[in-house]
């Protein structure tokens, strides 16, 4: 079992329910494969830094999960087949990343705040 983080940009044309359904579809895939969801964070509509497929906005969704190491290949196929997905990025998290995300999710300061202010 490894820790992963998935970020998906969905098309902005999805309605609230369709967005929820799309999220459910991928979380179901994780749980079916024997993994577990750690944290889910729908960022919602955000403007993109540059247009993707002639769209200037996208629905962002971040998912943290644990899964067996062969699961990501299967997930990737599903993501690429889904035409609502503009782009996705899957990152493997090391122990520092897990700690960082846990802190961030619980609202504790992560230490980067000071570094942002200091210039």
């Amino acid at each position: 079992m490894n820790n992963y983080e998935l970020m998906v940009i969905f098309t902005p044309v999805l309605s609230e329910d369709e967005f929820k359904a799309a999220q459910k579809k991928f979380t179901a895939l994780v749980t079916e494969a024997g993994g577990s969801i750690i944290h889910e964070n729908p960022w919602g509509l955000k403007s993109l830094a540059y247009p993707i497929q002639k769209k200037t906005t996208g629905l962002y969704w971040v998912l943290e999960y644990t899964a067996p190491s062969d699961f990501n290949e299967k997930l990737k196929i599903q993501l690429l087949r889904d035409e609502n997905v503009l782009r996705h990025l899957c990152t493997k998290l090391d122990k520092f990343a897990v700690e960082y995300n846990a802190k961030k999710n619980s609202g504790v300061k992560t230490g980067t705040e000071k570094a942002v202010e200091a210039q």
């Binding site: 970020m7 940009i9 993109l48 830094a49 540059y50 993707i52 996208g58 971040v62 782009r87 990025l89 990152t91 090391d94 520092f96 990343a97 700690e99 960082y100 961030k104 992560t110 230490g111 980067t112 000071k114 570094a115 942002v116 200091a118 210039q119």
Partner: protein
């Protein structure tokens, strides 16, 4: 002429040199998050290009992680590949 009069060949340096530091070591940051755009912007110039280690003062280990994080952020359209006025 007084014997203990001090003369300088060159002007004395008055401005103090500020030592560069690696902000990751100083603040104890161990993970560079690609989602934290405001933080990553510290390491970019106006055009959205990565600043060199020479200027940021990062250690090599963290400069690599910063560059990976910036590249991920660019892929996910959180940061632009090219920009005119980023900051």
């Amino acid at each position: 002429m007084a014997k203990n009069e001090i003369k300088y060949l060159t002007a004395i340096k008055t401005d103090k040199h500020v030592k560069k530091f690696c902000r990751f070591k100083k603040y104890g940051i161990r993970y560079v998050d690609y989602k934290d755009v405001e933080f990553l912007k510290k390491f970019l110039n106006e055009q959205g290009k990565l600043l060199p280690r020479r200027i940021t003062g990062n250690s090599l280990k963290f400069q690599r992680r910063v560059s990976d994080a910036v590249k991920k952020a660019r892929q996910m359209a959180l940061l632009p590949y090219v920009a005119d006025l980023l900051k």
